[in-house]
């Protein structure tokens, strides 16, 4: 089980695209930094359906995106630390 850390928006880098090639259903994906902008992208959110996805609370708040957070769980850095140990490893794409 892997925690996939995505720090950039798909408009910036292929981090998420690459991750989606190899992610498994029992992994999780944490969207942080500009990757939280994914919340506004319908097509990407559809591709994330069925995966465990978290978004960084601080990055959402910094960008004023709270109203776009619907069913996705927000995590702070303390939760991030916990998640990084719950999973076997962290891949920072």
């Amino acid at each position: 089980m892997i925690l996939h850390l995505i720090k950039e928006s798909p408009a910036q880098s292929l981090a998420l695209t690459t991750c989606l090639r190899y992610v498994r259903k029992d992994d999780c994906i944490l969207l942080s930094g500009n990757a939280v902008n994914c919340l506004l992208k319908v097509e990407i959110m559809q591709r994330l359906t069925g995966y465990t996805v978290y978004v960084s609370k601080e990055d959402i708040a910094a960008r004023g995106l709270q109203r776009f957070v619907k069913e996705i769980e927000q995590v702070n850095y303390s939760d991030f630390v916990t998640l990084s140990l719950k999973y076997d490893k962290v891949i920072s794409w």
């Binding site: 930094g33 850095y77 630390v81 140990l85 490893k89 962290v90």
Partner: protein
């Protein structure tokens, strides 16, 4: 309680990843975990340039790293070859390369990539930013 090694690959200004790495390190320590080492590689070495001069009303990430070192004794290690290529030199490299100036902020220290490898081997978890 677990032992982390944190790798920082991005510049301190112009990219949010270094700040993210710092936040993670701070929270990990607050939760009682250990940070064996913060290793600066690729553009991450720019975090250690003492000439970084953020405006007084902006967050001073370098100072934050220094505080982390002071308060928790976290070793802050630069990859020496990545640093040299990016113009970050300690006093001893400046002498070795016959440069008149040096700009790596102590207590950041220079180390080889081997320190990253041995750090990964000893730590429970590697987190890259």
């Amino acid at each position: 309680m677990s032992k982390f090694i944190i790798q920082v690959n991005s510049a301190p200004y112009g990219n949010s990843a270094s700040f993210s790495a710092y936040q993670f390190a701070k929270e990990a320590l607050a939760s009682g975990h250990t940070i064996d080492k913060v290793f600066f590689y690729q553009d991450g070495v720019l975090n250690t340039n003492m000439l970084n001069s953020p405006a007084s009303d902006e967050f001073d990430l370098q100072q934050a790293w220094l505080d982390l070192h002071q308060q928790h004794g976290v070793p802050l290690v630069n990859c020496v070859s990545a640093a040299l290529r990016r113009g970050v030199l300690s006093e001893s490299e400046a002498k070795e390369y016959q440069q008149q100036h040096w700009n790596m902020q102590p207590p950041f220290i220079m180390g080889g990539l081997g320190e990253l490898v041995s750090g990964i081997e000893k730590a429970d978890r590697l987190i890259c930013f």
